[in-house]
């Protein structure tokens, strides 16, 4: 191009960029700046999660009724198999076991779906990542938020089940709020970790269902861990009970079910629940942010 000679002619591209204050495109922002950007996108995160939730059943004739019908059918199937056929309710009355089982299934599904959505959060939305600018952590967080809203629908079913089994609303039901908050933090952290792993290795989407199923059976979703493992060395039951999925499930049961007292909870349960949530959320966030500029490559 025939440009008039300018004082910039002798400069290298990097020097020229520095002179006019240009920044490297697509560079990773600092951690504090990243958090600020993510907070700035909170409306998008919420709208995206709600849109995904609505889009899920929009072609069905019953429409949004499935938000409640799906968890209800899920609970029925588990009750049929574990409650009626396998009789896994050892030592529990029917009034305790039914809500015990349903709570376990719903609470674990929340974590399970967050992990599965997390794996595909980046690798399944490459079009979005390659077309628009936003902190990539918006995607896994948004997917966990979608699962949280899904769980809130399930909670309606859970309340009905609990009340039909003789556990009526009382003050301890308020504990549901901190339990769900902590579990949401934990799930988001896990989704962030899985999103980074899944963006490098999409094969994880094939592998994770098996890992999650193993985790589910080891967490006492349909049986009480101390009762089931009473013939085995105590440390096995301890480890299983301290795993985050079991912790959040037990806290939720403790909050909801009348006949499920604190004697079923491991010691320092709230501290452990908080510890898992903070550790995984903070760790997962930093781990995800470290690769921010590489999402969407190749």
């Amino acid at each position: 191009m025939t440009a008039p000679p300018s004082p910039d002619d002798g400069l290298s591209p990097a020097e020229l960029a520095a002179k006019y204050g240009l920044s490297v495109s697509g560079a990773r922002p600092g951690l504090a700046e990243y958090v600020r950007q993510l907070w700035g996108r909170r409306h998008f995160i919420l709208a995206f999660s709600q849109a995904k939730l609505t889009a899920q059943y929009s072609q069905a004739k019953l429409g949004q009724l499935w938000q409640v019908a799906t968890p209800l059918l899920n609970a029925l199937v588990y009750f049929l198999i574990f409650g009626l056929i396998l009789k896994a309710d050892r030592g529990m009355s029917r009034e305790v076991y039914v809500p015990f089982l349903v709570t376990g299934v719903f609470v674990f599904t929340f974590t399970q779906n967050s992990v599965m959505a997390g794996v595909r959060a980046i690798s399944g939305n490459l079009g979005l990542v390659r077309a628009l600018h936003f902190p990539r952590a918006s995607l896994p967080v948004s997917f966990s938020l979608q699962q949280l809203q899904q769980l809130l629908f399930s909670m309606v079913v859970l309340f009905v089940v609990a009340m039909s089994c003789g556990s009526y609303p009382q003050l301890s039901w308020l504990l549901i709020v901190p339990v769900l908050t902590l579990q949401f933090l934990f799930n988001s952290g896990l989704a962030l970790v899985m999103a980074r792993l899944g963006s490098r290795t999409p094969d994880l989407a094939q592998l994770m269902p098996f890992v999650m199923r193993t985790w589910m059976y080891a967490s006492g979703v349909m049986f009480s861990i101390p009762v089931m493992l009473k013939d085995h060395p105590g440390w096995i039951a301890d480890i299983l009970q301290w795993n985050p999925a079991a912790i959040y499930m037990d806290l939720m049961r403790f909050a909801l079910i009348d006949g499920y007292g604190s004697e079923n909870l491991p010691p320092h349960v709230w501290a452990v629940a908080l510890g898992w949530a903070v550790l995984v959320a903070a760790g997962g966030f930093v781990y995800f942010w470290k690769a921010e500029e590489r999402y969407g490559r190749g």
Partner: protein, 260 residues
């Protein structure tokens, strides 16, 4: 930053310095695709387990200045769109650097929209995805709907987008994307959507965006629309920058090359 057009010094807005971009494609390799071969590659931790590399952009350097409208031309697969994505910071370069003033944006929100949602919700979702605030979207909402002309034949905006004809959907997408003001704006074949009437309207809107934006990049296979809108053209061929200069010179060479 001060705009010193009056003094004659040109302010750079985008600087590309020896940019290379490599795509990695999983499972693109033919032969040796058996499960055991894949397993042995993973165990040996060899560099590319079934991954094929596509070198899409090879060492492109240029400097774009404030107030320029730059056309990108080249045959299919020459790396035009890929280069735009690298400038936008959406595709990290393998080596080399892209420096920009502010945040360049690609005109396109297609990926954020969902066919199962109503047009109304998609306007909001697309706006949020582009980084607009809820208030900005509320202000522009009617403008977007009117511009798209979706409601000219009845109340379509409250129907799910999957019920739209492909032309209607494309019009709504363009209207949402063009609702935001940008510093550095990149347009990838956006002029080819909709009927004649809508095309005229969108060309006018792009000229408007150009006035507001510092620098505009336009990818198109339509030499006429490049001539109409751009004053400088980059010609890419096989990922290399083949020519960079005033529109008329480059297009003349390009037409000679393509045998027109």
């Amino acid at each position: 930053m001060a705009d010193d057009k009056s003094t004659g010094t040109r302010v750079p807005t985008v600087i590309a310095d020896e940019v290379h971009i490599v795509y990695r494609v999983n499972g693109g390799k033919t032969g040796k695709g058996s499960a055991t071969a894949a397993l042995s590659r993973i165990i040996r931790r060899s560099e590319s387990p079934g991954v094929r590399k596509v070198h899409a952009v090879r060492g492109v350097s240029f400097t774009a200045y404030r107030g320029e409208a730059i056309g990108l031309i080249g045959s299919n697969g020459s790396g035009k769109s890929t280069l735009l994505r690298a400038i936008a910071g959406l595709l990290p370069p393998e080596s080399g650097k892209v420096y920009t003033d502010g945040q360049p944006s690609l005109l396109g929100v297609n990926a954020a929209l969902m066919n199962d949602l109503t047009g109304e919700r998609n306007v909001i979702l697309g706006g949020l995805a582009m980084g607009m605030s809820r208030e900005q979207i509320r202000e522009r909402y009617q403008e977007i709907v009117d511009f798209s002309g979706i409601n000219e034949k009845g109340d379509f905006i409250t129907l799910p987008m999957r019920t739209y004809s492909s032309g209607m959907a494309a019009r709504l997408r363009f209207s949402i994307a063009a609702a935001k003001d940008h510093d550095v704006l990149m347009i990838d074949e956006a002029l080819a959507t909709g009927d004649r009437k809508f095309q005229k309207r969108s060309e006018a809107r792009i000229r408007e965006l150009r006035k507001e934006a510092g620098t505009v990049f336009l990818v198109s296979h339509n030499n006429k629309s490049i001539r109409d809108t751009c004053d400088r053209v980059l010609w890419l061929e096989r990922g290399e920058l083949r020519m960079d200069g005033p529109t008329d010179e480059v297009i003349k060479e390009y037409e000679k090359f393509t045998g027109k």
